[in-house]
Amino acid sequence: MKEGSSQQSQYVALVSHHLQDSLSAIQFCLQLVLSGSVGQVPEKVKEMISRAESQTRHLLHFIRDLLSLSRIQAVRELEMKNLSLLKIVENVIRELRPRASEKTISLELKDSTRGSPAYANRETLEQLFINLIVNAIKYTNPHGKVGVEVIEEDECFRIIVWDTGIGISQSDIEHIFDDFYRAKNAKQIEEKGTGLGLSIVKQAVDVHQGEIWVESELNKGSRFIFTLPKRKTAVALDKER
């Protein structure tokens, strides 16, 4: 089963690289035309090319997310090591702070840990935090707030990514982690999301044997809460399988 999953992941990666190659060429050509480098373009033609360029960008994001999902799904035995959860969160926040600032959204971090390491895969955790925080920023209005709280409990870490954004309806919450699912009010903010961002988050939590759930209220904000077991518990859980 493991070998089959790895082969599938390699296949998806290969197909994705091919798709990305062609889309990159298309996008480059369209941008070149839009820049005027190959001659003046009538306004209406420019508008159509701009729409085509926007679609290729969307497809490229889609492929990127598909790759992330495939990689996490297929490789069930990711390389895990003891690492500082707080450092990962701090790095991601530092990287995303400019994006939050563009919307005058404050980005906060609250550390309630005792310094114990998490037993996790670095790349997958980074992807997880990036997806949650980028979503929070995307769906929070200017002058709003986004935050991350990391709490260390006896058996696990509990992490909360919260925002004061548009919130999620109860009917959408049930499906929010499904592949390609997009909440109705999310589509009003960003028409062309891939719908894979939270699937990736769920898969990332699952491979770490954690749990994730959402608390949310429309127009008030959301809290994505997930757990990451500490090493002893993760190893014990493995033995139970």
Binding site: H17, Q20, S24, F28, S37, I130
Partner: protein, 147 residues
Amino acid sequence: MAKEARIIIIEDNTDLAEAMRVCLESRNHQVRIATTPEDGLKGIKEETPDLIILDVMFGPDKRTEGFNLAQQLKLDPGLSSIPILMVTAVNAEYPNFKFSPETDGEFLPVDDFVNKPIEPVELLQKVEKLLEAKISKWAKWPHKRDQ
């Protein structure tokens, strides 16, 4: 602004390569294209370029032959000083991982990276910067990096 330069693009997607050619020729650079690392090396030896734009992956199975060529060029004393701009799609797979000449130059001696999807403006800026530098900072790789 750097004066017109001789640039070789080693990229197996001919549409992308030709589009990059159009972009670079708009700044009066002379551009040649090779679609395989072997043809690229041959072209470089026939006429020394001022800059090499080199893709990472080649062929239907996307082997990372670009890495091998970069190392080969840096081990050749006659070619090692030519700056290399590497075109990488790694970020599609590992969006949080960005190659950096500072951290990855020990095994990947290229002067800068440009990630797919490439934007014409970014391509021109990076080419300009490397042409102004003139000499690769990895000219003495693997023993020493030039300051």
